[in-house]
């Protein structure tokens, strides 16, 4: 199939003219586009809008935690009188906000918004392909994502409120509407939305894998691929392996909810009645969920790490240190990520022996992660660092990746997990290591490839302000959470006032919320910069960051098929920065090796 796709483009080549694309109408160009660059932009814009929703939600529930059961006009306006009578947020709506915040950020922003955007944009451009293997499937993938996003947003408006059983939707809470109002129509829509999302994600991932394997240009061997592509490629594979398992879990849950089966339910007495459920196991659901849920962490994080590798090398004007070790780490992380899911379930009631196994595999994953962190640091060493906003976010990512990753040593240890499981310590850990890190990766990618996407530059001064305030606020929000977690404060508590023991943590919660509000407010600078620059930014030159990879050999103005002439041939790896013997401090991949030029055994 891919060969056919290739040939069609080859056919375009012969005509060697652009007038073939003039038939494009507004609808085929901007809406039902099959051009990967346009689809990437669609993913980015949709992801950004979902991100705004997700972050506003987090502000709402943070305000409730900091000033419990106080009346706020903003609650009245955004939540309405039903969810916030008199401006006081209701307890089940608090949980709904937490749930939808998690769902949106993990799936819609950091999976689709990050991976969808940059895989689509960069895979064809960086491997030297005219488009994805199947442009049509790519378009369907985006529109399914869009549909699932719309359904998720619609679920916010159902009468009893959206899904509110946590983003992990553990049954029976998610299965029985009597247990929590959100488990009625809201939960149904959640499951429908996620099922469609998974279909979308699978189509995207299959496309990425096929494209990387089949459509690399001449000379682009696997060991000449930029690390971004390696990351997207492996991410897509993990997605293909693990997302179907979530789909099966979702389908079984739909059956339990709607057709009276008992896959996950047994012996339940609720609202004064015994239900008919018999013989199912909620622990089974937890296994199925985390079989996706844990790889999902890396589905979110690996693309960010790939983006960072590329940006750090470019801006350090230095080869990425240990290219092969970086690839090996990506592969090791990907493999290990599929066999560590049980560390979310140490105290779930599964056999403690399994806990031992999962502790072992989980702590192993620290090794490739450490290698990656060290390699990033060494790449900076004796570089000539160009502090563009993308570079700042990449360095920021390494910083939060280390800070957040280190506490994984505690959480991944079954013994230590006993007492901090489901406390704010966990919230601090995963927000730093995957939430903030992946967001930084996304910001870095946007600042770096904005000229490629929109032909214009983003304002760097606003970028600097955006980065520095975000960097301080991100630590400001999540660092103190470690302390309140060590105090035993459980997550997902609507209010901590029921326990005098937690009274002393209240000031910290207020501080966290203040940091969150300031941090979120400064994202407005980013949004303004982003949308303003799309239309009014400075015109970009072809290769503004003086980078080696192939996407910068395409013209600034987008054309379907990427390169006006032939697809360029590749002669070297992408990291020949500051190579001795060359005039410039970068040598694009399309430059042939000089006579006698030494090729490193990267």
């Amino acid at each position: 199939m891919s060969a056919v796709g290739h040939e069609i483009h080859g056919h375009d080549d012969h005509h060697d003219a652009h007038d073939h694309h003039h038939k494009e109408t507004f609808i085929t160009k901007y809406i039902f586009s099959i051009d990967h660059k346009m689809i990437a932009k669609q993913y980015l814009i949709t992801g950004t809008i979902m991100g705004i929703i997700g972050i506003v939600m987090s502000l709402l529930f943070r305000m409730q935690i900091a000033w419990p059961e106080e009346s706020f006009t903003v609650f009245k306006v955004l939540l309405g009188d039903k969810f916030a009578p008199g401006g006081v947020m209701k307890n089940d709506i608090y949980l709904a906000l937490v749930t939808i915040h998690g769902t949106i950020m993990v799936f819609f922003v950091l999976t689709a918004g990050l991976s969808g955007t940059f895989s689509n944009l960069l895979i064809p451009l960086q491997i030297g392909a005219r488009d994805m293997a199947s442009g049509f499937m790519n378009m369907v993938s985006y529109w399914l994502f869009f549909l699932s996003a719309v359904i998720m947003v619609i679920s916010l408006f159902v009468e009893a409120g959206p899904a509110s059983a946590g983003w992990t939707i553990y049954p029976p809470l998610s299965a029985i509407p009597e247990a929590i109002p959100g488990s009625g129509a809201g939960m149904t829509l959640w499951l429908v939305s996620m099922a469609i999302f998974i279909a979308s994600s699978l189509m995207g991932s299959l496309n990425y894998v096929v494209t990387v394997i089949n459509l690399r240009t001449k000379g682009m061997s696997m060991t000449r691929l930029p690390l971004t592509i390696w990351a997207f490629f492996v991410t897509a594979i993990i997605g293909i392996v693990s997302f179907p398992v979530l789909l099966s879990a979702a389908l079984l849950l739909i059956m339990d909810r709607s057709f009276g089966t008992s896959f996950f339910l047994s012996d339940i007495f609720i609202a004064g009645e015994v239900t008919h459920y018999q013989g199912g196991s909620p622990v089974l659901f937890e296994h199925l969920f985390w079989f996706l849920g844990h790889p999902e962490v890396y589905i979110v994080l690996l693309p960010a790490l790939g983006i960072t590798s590329e940006i750090i090398a470019t801006n350090a004007r230095k080869p990425i240190f240990g290219y092969r070790a970086m690839i090996a780490s990506i592969l090791a992380i990907a493999f290990l990520s599929t066999i560590v899911w049980g560390h979310h379930m140490f105290v779930s009631g599964m056999n403690p022996f399994l806990g031992s196994v999962f502790t072992f595999t989980t702590l192993l994953i620290a090794i490739p992660s450490a290698v990656k962190a060290f390699n990033y640091i060494t790449t900076l060493w004796r570089g000539n660092l160009q502090m563009n906003p993308a570079m700042l976010f990449s360095i920021g990512l390494v910083s939060t990746f280390i800070s957040g990753g280190l506490t994984g040593i505690i959480l991944g240890d079954s013994t230590l997990d006993i007492n901090i499981h489901d406390t704010y310590f966990v919230v601090a850990h995963f927000h730093l290591v995957m939430g903030i890190s992946a967001l930084y990766g996304m910001f870095a990618g946007i600042y770096h490839w904005f000229p490629k996407m929109f032909g214009r530059m983003m304002n760097k001064t606003l970028g600097y302000i955006h980065f520095w305030v975000t960097a301080v606020c991100a630590y400001g929000v999540f660092f103190p959470m470690h302390f309140i977690g060590m105090a035993g404060l459980p997550r997902r508590y609507y209010s901590n006032s029921a326990f005098p023991l937690f009274d002393e943590l209240q000031d910290v919660n207020v501080l966290i919320t203040m940091f969150a509000i300031i941090g979120a407010a400064f994202q407005l600078i980013f949004l303004w910069n982003f949308f303003y620059s799309i239309f009014k930014g400075k015109r970009a030159v072809q290769n503004p960051w003086r980078s080696n990879t192939l996407e910068w050999t395409t013209p600034v103005e987008h054309i379907h098929g990427n390169w006006p002439g032939e697809i360029p041939e590749v002669y070297r790896w992408p990291y020949d920065y500051s190579k001795p013997g060359h005039d410039e401090d970068f040598v694009p991949q399309t430059v042939p090796m000089k006579e006698g030029e030494e090729q490193l055994h990267h």
Binding site: L385, H482, H602
Partner: protein, 402 residues
């Protein structure tokens, strides 16, 4: 309202900064050199941001130190179970490693960002590989992690697997969870918990104990968890509706409570409630909390609301798995007594057999003393049990392992 005001202030602040950046940019245009206006970092940008990177590592350090000083005392303090010190020790080792690595790597990362900030004319060092170096920093984590894994697994096995000889003399307690409260049931004189299933829930038998089981009648239900000091307690957890998690932070103990199965955890309490109240760390904590509460009380009284009660320390059982709207207030007090006091307390409790008999003797005027939901429960449960087609799966004391 405060929130909204703060929000407004922040937005205005943002606008101000944006305006400042405009001015900043305008002043730059006058001194335009090559590349100055292309939105690509210049030497000046590299310099400013390089220094800021250096400042940022200082920020991380200071924030960490301030955090440790100001919030370090939030930690739970002296553990009250036998495995607790081992847990805390492993935690301490892990934290030392984490702080060391964090200190070094964050320093290198930000210092290099500062030291090697770009300058026109500088050339980076072409350095792509070094097998020795990479081997070193692969092997160091391997060794450190091997130690942590081994110690962790040793502790885990100690905590989770109870030897058979320890089981003989243990106290068996069922902890029963429902939205949004806890109940407990002691095994009684025979030391065995009667079998149970939610289908047996009826009237005072709120935990669904099978009264036909000979082990059931002597079981002792209670609404407060009392534990004897120094005796191994084996908990059996059951839930009647959704997932809960029985979290007893002071004992370094937690286990999820899963409907349809029995989960298990065990520990030996080592400090009575009275002893814990005398613990220096706990006394400081309580004093601090009472400070906060009395200040808050003053405000409340000024508003004409009742003052908060002063806090006295008690062990707690919290729900730590999202279980519904009132998840945030699903708790039970735990009391650890000296063995003699515990024996006295439990002798005063009514056995389940007696309670059921008493409730049956009374004419069914409408479930006296039974919780509200049980009135409705009665009919359903009674309707289900005699049918015998859905034979209740016995959920007696059996290991949680499948």
């Amino acid at each position: 309202m405060t929130g909204l005001l703060i929000f407004a202030v922040i937005i205005l602040l943002g606008v101000a900064i944006w305006q400042l950046s405009k001015i900043f940019q305008l002043t730059k245009i006058g001194a335009a050199v090559y590349n100055e206006n292309s939105e690509v970092a210049t030497d000046k940008d590299n310099n400013v941001n390089g220094w800021l990177m250096f400042a940022f590592v200082a920020f991380i350090y200071i924030f960490t130190i301030v955090g440790l000083v100001k919030w370090g005392h939030f930690a739970l303090g002296t553990p009250a179970s036998e495995h607790g010190p081992q847990y805390d020790n492993l935690l301490a080792i892990s934290f030392w490693i984490i702080f060391t690595v964090q200190f070094l790597t964050q320093f290198l990362l930000h210092y290099f960002s500062f030291k090697y900030r770009g300058k026109q004319g500088n050339v980076a060092y072409y350095y792509a590989d070094n097998d020795k170096l990479e081997f070193v920093w692969t092997i160091i984590p391997v060794i450190v992690l091997a130690v942590l894994i081994l110690y962790g697994l040793y502790a885990w096995t100690n905590i989770m697997f109870v030897a058979d000889e320890d089981k003989e003399d243990a106290l068996y307690v069922e902890v029963y969870a429902k939205q949004f409260s806890w109940e407990v049931r002691y095994a009684g004189k025979d030391g065995v918990l009667g079998k149970a299933n939610v289908r047996y829930i009826e009237g005072v038998n709120t935990m669904g104990v099978d009264m036909a089981d000979p082990h059931a009648a002597d079981d002792i239900p209670a609404s407060e968890l009392h534990l004897p000091k120094g005796k191994r307690v084996i908990f059996k957890f059951r839930s009647q509706d959704v997932l809960h998690s029985a979290y007893m932070p002071h004992f370094r103990a937690q286990m999820n409570v899963v409907p349809g199965m029995v989960t298990e955890f065990s520990f030996i309490p080592t400090l009575t409630t009275a002893e814990m109240r005398e613990d220096q760390k706990i006394m400081n904590k309580v004093a601090h909390i009472n400070d906060i509460r009395s200040k808050k009380s003053e405000e409340l009284v000024a508003d004409g609301k009742p003052a908060l009660e002063p806090y006295t320390f008690d062990y707690l059982l919290l729900c730590n798995k999202i279980c519904g709207p009132s998840h945030y207030n699903m708790q039970m007090k735990i009391v650890v007594d000296e063995k003699a006091d515990f024996d006295k307390w439990i002798a005063d409790q009514k056995t389940l057999g007696t309670a059921v008999k008493e409730s049956q003797e009374k004419p069914a005027e409408g479930g006296e003393g039974a919780p509200a939901t049980d009135t409705a429960a009665k009919d359903t449960a009674a309707a289900v049990i005699p049918q015998d087609t859905t034979k209740p799966v016995a959920q007696a004391a059996q290991p949680a392992a499948h």
